[in-house]
């Protein structure tokens, strides 16, 4: 294994996540107030958005960015189809639940991306700033394909389409990520200096505390769920592995490399547990949150953080 993978378990960021998992499994009453957790997630998104925008202001806009954005859009839209097929065939999930779960795996997890960013950067694989924009555009196309799959080709949600589209394209994390990306880009490196202490020096520490909370939430949900069976758990490990490799190959083919390639693979490997569940509550209320949240949050998320980011980093090094 690779130095990134090796040093993973001695990094405070990962250790706090493990502490959260262990504390919840031991049924400790440790918990972080909801408002604080929400505040930290807003902070993390604003910070990576800004940082990405400033990086692009420095490096300039180029064709590679367009390619990556397009690839992101296509992948997010396409991945759910394969995921859906596996869920139907192997886990024998009904159409609605399979569609809902598929949407989660096509979309992305912001925290997985942020953690990968830190670990890759620290391991000599720096990630291009524009990947924040790729992250943002990959959040929502999967929702559309998930709905198409769940509803036999119709995305009619019984609600005003405007509400659904707003929910999808103006959801909080997309707006905040793209908004602070734009702010970083407009302000540029010089003016960014003023706000750098908060958004850059504090970043890793906040990530520690946020992952502590994510560990608590993931483990508590896992213990409370009645919806998982071994087939679903197996798929929740397989999806990030396979999707990560798909991302690695697709990214390599269009010319991404190094940390940027690895980050793209991580995006493909990650599953949403914020934006997509909220959309599913509205559009597919019959789907069981016990299934999709437990898979994405309690199995795939820890697997990505603890193991898969390291694997992807190793595979990237082999490629380049």
């Amino acid at each position: 294994m690779d130095s990134v993978a090796l040093s993973t378990f001695a990094s405070p960021v990962i250790l706090f996540f493990v502490l959260g998992l262990l504390a919840a499994f031991a049924r400790s009453d440790l918990s972080i107030p909801e408002a604080i957790a929400k505040g930290m997630s807003l902070y993390l998104m604003a910070a990576i958005g800004l940082k990405g925008g400033v990086a692009v202001a420095k490096s300039g806009v180029n064709a590679e960015i367009g390619t990556a954005l397009l690839l992101g859009l296509v992948t997010s839209f396409a991945l759910p189809f394969a995921v859906y097929a596996a869920l139907r065939a192997f886990a024998r999930l009904d159409q609605i639940n399979a569609g809902a779960v598929a949407a989660h795996y096509g979309s992305v997890s912001v925290v997985t991306f942020v953690t990968a960013n830190e670990m890759l950067g620290g391991g000599g694989l720096p990630v291009a700033g524009y990947m924040v924009a790729v992250l943002a555009v990959m959040e929502t196309p999967a929702i559309l394909s998930g709905l198409l799959l769940a509803r036999r080709g119709s995305v009619d949600t019984g609600q005003r389409p405007g509400e659904m589209l707003r929910e999808v394209f103006l959801n909080a994390s997309v707006v905040l990520l793209l908004g602070s990306f734009a702010i970083g880009f407009i302000a540029g490196p010089q003016r960014y200096k003023d706000v750098q202490p908060l958004f850059e020096s504090g970043f890793k520490g906040v990530l520690c505390l946020f992952l502590l909370d994510m560990g608590l939430i993931a483990a508590r949900r896992l213990m409370a769920t009645r919806a998982l069976n071994w087939r679903l758990v197996a798929l929740a490990v397989l999806f990030p592995l396979v999707n990560g490799m798909v991302g690695l190959i697709a990214g390599h083919l269009v010319g991404l490399d190094g940390g940027t390639l690895a980050a793209f693979a991580v995006l493909c490997a990650s599953a949403s547990y914020i934006a997509v569940p909220a959309a599913m509550r509205l559009a597919l209320p019959q789907a069981d949150p016990g299934i999709y949240l437990s898979m994405s949050l309690s199995v795939t998320f820890p697997f990505n953080i603890l193991i898969n980011i390291g694997l992807i980093a190793a595979a990237t090094r082999m490629l380049g």
């Binding site: 909801e34 408002a35 909220a278 509550r281 949240l293």
Partner: protein
């Protein structure tokens, strides 16, 4: 003695993303207002949840006061969503002061 009138009090427990739809139904039923209360944890047939606004797994309690007619109309209007989206609706009689508002 202060005069009171009898009205219906309706409370609806809904997933966070659905609250907007519930309040829109209240407005559509011609009821003068509503109030949202936070909830922090719960348990039902779908298992437990605990203040996880991070994962969107939050709920809220929408409370509204209306005449019996409007309350019935609201219940009727919400009935399909109640079943499909697993909302919880409870309703009872209360006394209010200055009841002409409702």
């Amino acid at each position: 003695m202060i005069e009171t009138v009898i009205r219906k009090r309706i409370e609806i427990l809904a997933d966070g993303p659905l609250v907007r739809r519930v309040t829109a139904a209240i407005d559509a039923a011609g009821i003068t207002g509503w109030t949202v209360l936070p909830v922090t944890a719960g348990s039902g047939r779908d298992g437990r949840w605990h203040e996880e606004r991070v994962t969107g797994a939050d709920k809220a309690l929408v409370l509204t006061i209306a005449s019996a007619d409007k309350a019935a109309a609201l219940a009727e209007a919400l009935a399909p969503v109640l079943t499909s989206h697993g909302l919880l609706l409870t309703m009872w009689d209360i006394e209010v002061i200055r009841g002409e508002r409702f």
